[in-house]
Amino acid sequence: MTTSRKLVLLAGSLVLGAALVLTGVPAGAAGGQTTIVNFDYEPNAQSVAVGTTITWTNSADRPHTVTDRGGTFDTNPVGPHQSASVTFTVPGTYHYFCRINPSRMNGVITVTGDSTGAAVNRVEAIDPALPGERLRFNPDTLTVKAGSTVLVANVGGKPHTLAADDGSFDSGVVAPGAEGGRFAGTNASVVLTKPGIYRFHCDVHPQAMTGVITVTGPTQPGPAPPSDAARQTSVSVVDFAFQPGQASVAPGGKVTWRNGGDAPHTATFDDVALDTGTVLPGSSASLPAPQKPGSYSYRCAIHPGRMRGVLVVLGQNVADPTQPVAARAQTAAAVTGRRGPGGALSGLVLGTAVVAAFLAGFGIAMFLRPRRRRGG
């Protein structure tokens, strides 16, 4: 056998060996139902009863998300062979998508339930940013009980409002998702306290987007803005920090600061008129959280440069940024006890690149060398 044939065989063996090693690396593929594939959800349209928990399992080889276009839930990236779950407690239609592949991966879930018994009902504001759609509310006819909330989710690409013709309620402008609705929009809530039949419209598209809400039952005072967050929370004050630095609470909830340090401190908010005053060592002070959901920064007025904190007032269906990711990610490694391909693949692929660069660099240098001699 000639030297060149030996080299060819050697090169072929190396290539085949690398391929076998790489393809033989455990891919972590677990059995079970596939619900996310590159680049779709299967199924991508389903109808479930209120209270149902849906689990998405990513059987593809890229991370994907399951994100509500109306901004009420987001699994964050679900890695290959991981899963995430969302429980649907509010009746309505949910257009969702993948934040990583927003144009290609879309789905819709219809959560069915008795709207007249629900504390919250969802109405989607839809426009042509969704392929094949037109300006409309979904549903445009709804019967709810007095004291319940209507959550307006903007799943389109234009700003919308949901306002009663007689001025009884108005959601204000609900902003669309970025890039003309390519990404997730926002939502707002209105509380319907008085029974009656209310015609409503979108202030931005008053002709095309209209509907009727029938409110039944006795007049209600109207609940506080609904939230899944705790109604009260406490923050430890030490020398010189707030622990935790970021706490969450429901709108109007009670926040207590307990001073466990040796120095007096305060919790003085930057943008709203809330101040505990001086809290002496060993004592505590409480404040009602703002009603409007959002993040509020505060400081110790005595040690403002060293002690700062954030209070997050959580609105309805808003992921709590102070808590770990809501999605219950379950890795394939936990299920199968096997490693995914990431580490070994990285090493082999990068090694291959280094070898390629070395060989080519050597070859190119050889081509350049005689030229330099001639030039010299």
């Binding site: 060149s4 391929a19 680049f39 390629a356 081509f367």
Partner: protein
């Protein structure tokens, strides 16, 4: 088509593409390495220029074949071709590689002249493959 490819690769289409692209990139390096020997600008590896030419030819055909397979899956795939920027660059590099290959075969088989340009063409080819690798495999690996 994407579903079919996903199916036959056990939903690991991108993994297979990453492997094939890396192999093609390595073969591109092998090409330049043996080209230096067959042009007699290098005495390493210690084989004859004719043997180096044979290795160059075989590894080149293998690289082009595997590259064509990967390119077909790219064309059938759902990504790009113009957005995001990484995919745009990948499309440009991919197109450039096949244009350069066409030029190389034209020089070798049709024009039968301009052989002095071959080292430049080969270097450009390797850089094209490097660009393809950097805009896909590197992204794939670092995103895991």
């Amino acid at each position: 088509m994407v579903r079919f490819l996903n199916g036959i690769t056990g939903n690991n289409l991108l993994l297979y593409k990453v492997i094939l692209t890396s192999i093609v990139f390595a073969l591109a390096g092998v090409q330049v390495f043996f080209a230096a020997r067959l042009w007699d600008v290098s005495s390493f590896p210690p084989i004859s220029a004719a043997s180096a030419a044979r290795v160059h030819r075989v590894s080149g055909r293998l690289a082009v074949t595997l590259g064509a397979v990967v390119a077909l899956t790219c064309l059938a795939g759902p990504a790009g071709p113009l957005s995001p920027t990484r995919v745009l660059l990948h499309s440009i590099f991919g197109t450039a590689v096949f244009v350069i290959l066409t030029v190389k075969f034209a020089v070798l088989k049709v024009l039968r002249s301009g052989g002095n340009a071959l080292p430049y063409i080969g270097t450009a080819l390797f850089l094209g493959f490097a660009g393809i690798w950097a805009t896909t495999v590197a992204d794939y690996v670092t995103s895991r």
